[in-house]
């Protein structure tokens, strides 16, 4: 006699019975995302992008609002259904894990033009616009909206704290996602002596014409003093803890260096250092070097620059003593904004201190590192983000919600046992497929404490 082991209709109905647990949520949400992965691999050039304003808001906000209203009405009428299952923890967990999996390639491999060829062949060189990521993000947003509506309607314990955090997350994700459709950004290169820069070039090759122009009038680079560098033939190098300077004594790799002569800016001609007061010149120092074994040697050290090659001293033990390239401490670009009102007063733009003009923000990114302090070129990032105020609001709500959860963390742990006292855990609400076994209780715990 053969036994029919195919899942029957009754078995399938029982699988999908409410409430859903992880397997059901995994099939429902994970299944959709998995299809997205398959489609992306088959169609690697498929990319999903939001339209520009105002349609970005329409595409993102309107469906969520409709779903929220529909579900709110359903909750108020005490009806349960698939939406109610999607508002539960298993659905949230699956949606989050799908999002993590979709974002994982970004964390591991470079994206865009730098992405490995095989990654591009399966459509994951631009993960953020790939179908798996978009579907996962939609799933997370959907679950967030549904669970927030349910908690508010049902007024479960801690709903205010919950609302603060989760509504903040919804607001933040919607603002950030919708905002990408209206975001304008690009790089602008300014050179001293050139006309005003009026266009920013994005990484995708889009040219954004600015409503203002920027004139670069001055560039300033402050550097740390250099340090002593002692390098061996095996590539091992030691750096002094203190800076070189006039009369300084520093130690690196067991070698004590005393500065006998100091040139703050020097050019090197035929192996000889000369004072040279120019921004692109590096310092030079005549040092007396004492080795641990009693040997000593003197000579000039200088880090290479546009006005002179490196000067080093070979030590009796075969190592080389030199000077490190002075590291940048701070750099600033002085610019003048040009608009319909004319040329405005000079303004200094630094890293962490951007310039705002005509709705655009300009961030100082880079300069010509070959020229160093003599650089006549800077690179700025121009950004126009109209969704920014909404994003800040979302961040503020999430921050407050997180702090509220921090303060009430103890209530979130759940009733496993009394904190700090050993006891057997109360068995979870029995599931149909599991009964707690005596062996699950810790043998050190009295039997009468165990159910």
């Amino acid at each position: 006699m053969t036994i029919d082991r195919r899942p029957s209709t009754v078995d399938r109905q029982q699988f999908w019975s409410f409430p859903w647990r992880l397997p059901q949520a995994g099939v429902a949400i994970g299944g959709v995302v998995a299809i997205g992965w398959l489609v992306q691999v088959v169609r690697p050039t498929l990319q999903l992008r939001l339209p520009g304003a105002p349609w970005n808001a329409v595409v993102v906000v309107v469906p969520l609002v409709l779903i929220a209203l529909l579900y709110g009405w359903s909750c108020a009428r005490k009806r349960t259904g698939v939406l109610e299952q999607l508002s539960r923890a298993p659905a949230a967990i699956v949606a989050l894990l799908c999002l993590a999996l979709a974002a994982a390639p970004i964390a591991i491999w470079p994206q865009g033009v730098a992405a490995p060829g095989w990654l591009a062949q399966i459509g994951l060189a631009h993960c953020l616009t790939a179908l798996p990521f978009v579907l996962s993000l939609v799933a997370v947003l959907l679950v967030l909206v549904l669970v927030t509506v349910r908690r508010v309607v049902e007024r479960e314990a801690g709903w205010a704290r919950f609302l603060l955090l989760h509504a903040g997350l919804i607001w933040l994700l919607v603002a950030a996602a919708a905002g990408t459709g209206s975001l304008r950004q690009g790089r602008i290169t300014l050179r001293i002596g050139d006309g005003p820069g009026v266009a920013a070039h994005s990484a995708e090759g889009v040219v954004h014409h600015l409503s203002v122009g920027l004139l670069l009038t001055h560039f300033r680079l402050d550097r740390f003093p250099p340090r002593l560098l002692v390098a061996g033939s095996d590539g091992a190098a030691a750096m002094s803890e203190h800076f070189l300077g006039d009369g300084a004594t520093v130690i690196a790799g067991g070698v004590t260096a005393t500065v006998q002569e100091w040139l703050p800016a020097a050019a090197v001609v035929e192996g000889v250092a000369w004072p040279y007061g120019s921004p692109e010149a590096n310092p030079a120092a005549k040092v007396h070097l004492d080795l641990p074994g009693g040997d000593s040697v003197s000579g000039w050290i200088h880090a290479p620059s546009l006005v002179g090659g490196a000067l080093t001293v070979t030590l009796p033990d075969g190592r080389i003593a030199g000077m490190e390239l002075p590291r940048p401490r701070r750099f600033a670009a002085t610019v003048r904004v040009v608009d319909a009102d004319g040329v405005h007063e000079p303004v200094e733009v630094l890293v962490n201190r951007p310039l705002k003009a005509a709705g655009w923000w300009f961030y100082l990114l880079d300069y010509d590192t070959r020229l160093g302090a003599a650089s006549d070129t800077v690179v700025l990032e121009a950004v126009e983000d109209r969704a920014l105020p909404a994003v800040w609001l979302g961040l503020a709500l999430v921050l407050l919600g997180a702090l509220a959860h921090l303060v009430q963390a103890r209530t979130l742990v759940g009733t496993w046992s009394s904190l700090g006292s050993p006891s057997c855990t109360r068995p979870a609400v029995p599931r149909s497929a599991h009964r707690p076994k005596a062996a699950e209780c810790n043998s050190a715990i009295p039997e009468e404490a165990c159910p």
């Binding site: 989050l96 491999w109 740390f224 962490n352 963390a409 979130l412 742990v413 979870a428 699950e440």
Partner: protein, 256 residues
């Protein structure tokens, strides 16, 4: 202040904590608590001394962050022990903190006064400190989880509480980082590999803590999930620098 002085200072602190750990095996004595507190105070004093000597926040290199981590683990561990009567954290916190400080003794940083221009920001210290606080809490959660798994305990309350304290701090750290990134580079979120790993860490803990509830999860499963989640923290903290994506990341630690 030299690297040798820092090493010696750390050795003294490690000796105090080792003594505290051994003494705590004899229940009922307050001496271990005192030794742990003195060690923690000494470590905070070292951090303050480094800050003055280097003329910058000592948060730039891996070695410097390990100092903060050790100090935060013990400080937060003592606070959690006092506030929630969690004596179980005492020995694990000393072990974990001692491990991190030992790395600094074995492979000390070269003290370096330089600080790159992008790190000259008032958000630098709050952002990194928030993350290190979160990592300390999650590290304590992980180590109490390990103890629970090894000893066959069925009570995940202590590790879960520590994780529930750590997750909001992860959130705070991410938000502070977003604000700083906007000010420095123009984008509050650029999907930098480090940022993405931070997001993956956050998502992992959110998923684990949503599942680790008595109505949905067995105690031992909760412990295992917490252990797995902490591996993501370690990947985010240490492994990202060894991945192919590091080439395009601005969050690379420098070795002193």
């Amino acid at each position: 202040m030299t690297a040798a002085v820092v090493q010696l200072w750390l050795i003294v602190i490690l000796a105090l904590w080792a003594l505290a750990g051994l003494w705590s095996l004899r229940p009922g004595s307050r001496v271990p608590l005192g030794l742990a507190m003195v060690g923690a105070a000494g470590l905070w004093a070292l951090i303050a001394a480094l800050w003055l000597a280097l003329e910058r926040p000592p948060l730039r290199t891996l070695g410097e962050t390990r100092l903060w981590y050790g100090a935060l683990i013990v400080t937060i561990g003592l606070l959690v022990e006092w506030r929630f009567a969690l004596g179980v954290v005492r020995l694990p916190m000393l072990v974990l903190a001692g491990l991190f400080l030992s790395l600094d003794v074995v492979a000390p940083d070269t003290l370096d006064r330089t600080l790159m221009p992008a790190l000259h920001s008032p958000w630098f210290v709050p952002h990194v400190a928030a993350y290190l606080t979160a990592y300390a809490l999650l590290g304590l959660s992980a180590i109490t989880t390990g103890v629970g798994l090894v000893r066959g305990r069925q009570d995940p309350s202590a590790p879960l509480l520590l994780a529930w304290l750590g997750l909001p701090m992860l959130t705070v750290g991410m938000i502070l980082g977003a604000i700083w990134a906007k000010q420095a580079w123009g984008h509050y979120w650029a999907w930098d590999p480090k940022e993405t790993w931070a997001l993956l860490t956050w998502i992992t803990y959110v998923a684990v803590l949503h599942h680790a509830h008595p109505e949905r999860c067995r105690p031992r499963t909760a412990l295992w999930l917490l252990a797995i989640a902490f591996t993501v923290v370690l990947l985010c903290w240490f492994a990202v620098q060894h991945l192919p994506s590091v080439a395009v990341s601005v969050h690379t630690y420098t070795q002193g």
